[in-house]
Amino acid sequence: MGMTLTEKILARASGRSHVVPGENIWVNADLLMTHDVCGPGTIGVFKREFGADAKVWDPEKVVLIPDHYIFTSDARANRNLDILREFAKEQGIKYFYDITDLTNFKANPDYKGVCHIALAQEGHTRPGEVLFGTDSHTCNAGAFGEFATGIGNTDAAFVMGTGKLLLKVPATMRFTFVGEMPPYLLAKDLILQVIGDIGVAGATYRALEIDGETITAMTMEERMTLCNMAIEAGGKNGIIPPDETTFAYVRERTDKPFDPLYPDKDASYYCHKIYDVSKLEPLVAKPHSPDNRATVREVEGTPIDRVYIGSCTGGKTEDFIHAAQLLKGQKVKVPTYLVPATQKVYDDLFTQKIDGMTLAEIFTAAGCIEPAAPSCAACLGGPKDTFGRMNQAEVCVSTTNRNFPGRMGSKEAQIYLASPFTAAASAITGKITDPREFF
């Protein structure tokens, strides 16, 4: 019997010709990513267990990306950056995207920003590979046709020392999208649809394989939005079969060879759902759960206090282009926070143009708050002085990924997760608004 894409990658990475769901196998890692929040703890376990003089299994395969708590006066957060730096030096880590001048991120050419987007932009996400990361949104990289999943510090320390991890092969749920995307829909609407259908535990212990003609026509950044939120359904990984769009993106960013894999035609799936995107609508996830789905029209008119556009899920260049398309020539009615995921995205805001205006000019003219330094920022609350953090019982429309109580700071804050179109439309009116109003 054939194998799904996840099964094929795990079979190859474990030196087997065939694997089936439920099997426990030792998988060889191609890459381990960690950041400033889980890196110091991972390093602590690594040293405790492998010894003070231990060396990582491959200094070219451990990638360190500070991104969570960077622009803060929090002493422990600052210390955690120092721990990463010292470790990178000691171990000869090839890919460490350091930041030393916290007052001006632009003075740090190596600093990238949000790890999942930085991994993609720096060519670390490659078809057919196995990526482990100490962050649940590591599943973002499944957009490149690789197996990518989030792990804890202890597991990461084990990978750091051995290059391997014991995994259970997940059963695969298949989601096929057909039809042409209506102009007012974005990948965020599609994944909110799926999460709303199967629930926040609907894919626990399973892989989500996403395909179909709609996906084939999608850019890599939109594909990332889909895979990024696989974890919001409890999934082990999200994955999209690679194609020419994937290869073009990867080859532009790395010379490293890769060997793509594809699902077998006779693969066995746990379930198969087919969506006709022409029938879908702009969606939100209401407080306080990513599966608390409503159509935007159902909650239209709900007053809001702010809009937040940022994070690994909704802070990529195209997310800002989509927001700018609606904000052009308009004025926002509520404070609108813009947090580019990475330095590259930040630069794009000042170079990418719509009808002769840069995105930054469009945002300024619309009255948005000046784009912040790239990082995870308020997506997950963070230290009290984090840019855009929800410190009060306010209502926010956000392009981020989670809205559990307290996710963006205050437990009393209410977060509506939405696409960049819906976020921008809502910023213009000061209440939740269907983007179709502006098409």
Binding site: I151, A201, T204
Partner: protein
């Protein structure tokens, strides 16, 4: 080797995510640092809505509840190992939930911080915070001594010895999977 865990329970409902177990503002604490490990314990479940009451009293580092009773999908959200560690550091010995998020469950075993028991049915509505309960490891039972009701638990299986050993690395050494440290 504990055969039973007994004490007052703390009751929560479905989808308690990692931000409620340990909010992101405390993630600057590095769990492998012993002092910061203790601090993480003092913040366990501080992100819960206020209606649940205090899990750790202000000024304390430990909870009086060694058992947490929960609904479905406990520990969903982030991969932060700080979550089972905060609970373990606060003095929680076991969670009994209807189901777990995958990474949280795995992190419980990897760290050896606590036993993630699963119950067959939706039990949390039948418990009140402060009820005295016993988990019987040999019978795979949860007994609510306050109400007198008994609930079957799914056997822990292969993760029990891993947690008893103190986590993944300790188990791997104990069983000869990896060499002992010199």
């Amino acid at each position: 080797m504990p055969k039973t865990i007994r004490g007052p329970v703390f009751v929560v409902d479905d989808n308690i995510d990692t931000d409620q177990i340990i909010p992101a503002e405390y993630l600057t604490l590095v769990p492998s640092n012993p002092e910061e490990y203790e601090k993480l314990g003092s913040y366990a479940l501080i992100g819960l809505p206020d209606r649940y009451g205090k899990f750790v009293e202000p000024g304390q580092t430990k909870t009086k509840y060694p058992i947490v009773i929960a609904g479905e999908n406990f520990g969903c959200g982030s991969s932060r190992e700080h979550a089972p560690i905060a609970l373990g550091a606060s003095g929680v010995e076991a969670v009994v939930a209807q189901s777990y998020a995958r990474i949280f469950f795995r992190n419980c075993a990897a760290t050896g911080e606590l036993y993630p028991w699963e119950c067959e049915t939706r039990i949390y509505p039948e418990f009140n915070t402060g009820d005295i309960a016993t988990i019987d490891f040999d019978q795979n039972l949860l007994i609510n001594e306050t109400t007198g009701k008994t609930y079957p638990l799914r056997p822990l299986g292969e993760i029990r010895p891993v947690i008893e050993a103190g986590g993944l690395f300790a188990y791997a050494r104990q069983t000869g999977m990896i060499p002992n440290r010199a």
